[in-house]
């Protein structure tokens, strides 16, 4: 089973030089810590910043410079600032090469639910619906099961949807899955996890790739 940091490390292996990437809150944020040395990836923060850098030092803190999680951040050389409409023009227009976000549920046909639990206080979708509609290359990073031990990889989402038929890849603590032809394809399995473990934890249709690999995490 992968730790959250290991999930982030595996996602970082998917990055390519020159990509513009939007990282959601939670596990996705950790991906920034594992960008390979020498690779140049620009982080987009949907509140209006491209070229987001690490958190500031105490003396660098600027209340006018935050990320989409409302955390204080810095800018890297070559950064740019823009309005929310320009930011979502980038996202909606397909200019962001990769979006990584968390989810409560993903279905075997690529639907995603990650913003609302009926009966609980609804905080809102923020930019999530725009992000899942904006690019073909989305990676969902999440734990395979919820706190009650129930699978988050389902035949159909039970929660209100964030987007339909938009997720092609999911990385969980158990493995990496592509979504194709109405099924989760287990492409890579986490070290120490058996295919049977994955099957038990997956409620949606699961196909084990004929070329299943064990995930390599340094």
């Amino acid at each position: 089973m992968l730790t959250k940091d290991q999930i982030a490390k595996r996602i970082a292996q998917e990055l390519q030089d020159g990509w513009y990437v939007n990282l959601g809150i939670g596990i996705p944020t950790l991906v920034a810590n594992y960008i390979p040395d020498g690779m140049h990836v620009e982080l987009q923060s949907e509140n209006g910043l491209l070229g987001m850098g690490p958190f500031p030092k105490e003396e660098e803190i600027d209340a006018d410079l935050i990320n989409a999680g409302k955390q204080t951040v810095t800018m890297r050389p070559g950064a740019s600032l823009f309005s929310s409409s320009d930011s979502f023009a980038m996202i909606r227009g397909g200019h962001v090469q990769l979006t990584v976000l968390g989810a409560m549920e993903v279905s075997e046909n690529g639907d995603i639910a990650n913003w609302k639990i009926p009966g609980k206080m609804v905080k809102g979708m923020g930019g999530a619906m725009d992000l899942v509609a904006g690019t073909d290359n989305i990676i969902v990073a999440m734990m395979h099961t919820n706190r009650a031990g129930e699978s988050k990889l389902l035949d159909r989402c039970t929660l209100p949807l964030t987007g339909i038929n938009c997720i092609r890849r999911v990385i969980t603590d158990l493995g990496m899955f592509s979504i194709e032809g109405g099924a989760f394809i287990l492409e890579e399995i986490a070290p120490g996890v058996s295919v049977d473990d994955v099957k038990k934890a997956t409620a949606g249709k699961l196909i084990v790739s004929p070329v299943l690999k064990t995930m390599l995490i340094d």
């Binding site: 923060s45 949907e46 509140n47 209006g48 910043l49 690490p54 958190f55 500031p56 030092k57 105490e58 803190i61 600027d62 209340a63 006018d64 410079l65 935050i66 990320n67 989409a68 999680g69 409302k70 955390q71 204080t72 951040v73 600032l81 823009f82 309005s83 929310s84 409409s85 930011s87 979502f88 996202i91 909606r92 639907d111 206080m121 609804v122 905080k123 809102g124 979708m125 923020g126 930019g127 999530a128 619906m129 725009d130 509609a133 904006g134 209100p160 949807l161 964030t162 987007g163 339909i164 038929n165």
Partner: protein
């Protein structure tokens, strides 16, 4: 041309019960602090507030919620606010949740004379319920209508007496589009300068969109998540 007003109190004259306001800002970053304080003091009721967020309990729009001045919020994310939650659950407050990018574009469209546009955002979700959907070039889209407001309250870094504005950092966020979409737009700025002092090439919001401007004071600029690296 006289757009300069003395302070927030003078700036908000004309805002009355039941009006629709846009308020710039993302979280607590780039919010019109002075105007919000003046509204809390003036006590207008039944306001519809279009703002990406609803502030926190004791700052931003949260202060207006405490005074029960807000009838309806149009926002993308309204967490971090216990009083908000209480009013929502008790039915005192109505909330219309809108995806953040759609909200930004609805404001821009309202300011740009575009009454409606198609977007893929929200297709297949409850956001699209009751809205026209259409296939264009093989993909499904939702028709979204634009937003305007009786007053837009925006915050900029620098401004000149003609209403030209320059924002700073990520405090720009929703302010430029809301400045476009207000029937009357009030800008509060940290530094008010003479025409000619701002580089025309660097103006973010041309003065044509701004009807009133003043230099605000005592900016708190509260930080929600103070994160530092070692």
């Amino acid at each position: 041309m006289n757009k300069v007003v003395k302070d927030a109190h003078e700036a908000i004259q004309g805002i009355t019960n039941g009006m629709t306001l846009m308020l710039g800002g993302f979280g607590l970053c780039g919010i019109p602090e002075n105007c919000i304080a003046a509204l809390v003091k003036a006590g207008q009721k039944d306001l519809t507030c279009i703002s990406n967020n609803a502030g926190v309990d004791d700052f931003g729009i949260g202060l207006m919620l405490q005074q029960r001045q807000v009838k309806k919020m149009i926002s993308s994310y309204v967490g971090e606010n216990a009083e908000f939650e209480r009013q929502l659950l008790s039915g005192e407050l109505e909330v219309e949740l809108t995806p953040q990018g759609t909200l930004a574009e609805k404001c821009r469209a309202g300011g740009a004379g575009i009454p409606a546009f198609f977007t893929a955002t929200g297709y297949g979700t409850e956001i699209a319920e009751g809205k026209e959907t259409r296939e264009i070039n093989g993909r499904m889209y939702v028709l979204e209508e634009s937003l305007t407001a009786d007053y837009a309250l925006v915050k900029a870094w620098k401004g000149d007496k003609y209403g030209n504005l320059i924002y700073k950092g990520t405090a720009r966020n929703f302010n430029p589009m809301m400045a476009m979409a207000g029937k009357i737009t009030i800008a509060e700025v940290e530094e008010l300068v003479e025409p000619g002092e701002l580089d025309p090439n660097q103006v973010h919001t041309p003065g044509i969109f701004v009807q009133r401007i003043f230099q605000g004071k005592n900016y708190e600029k509260r930080i929600e998540q103070r994160t530092v690296s070692k």
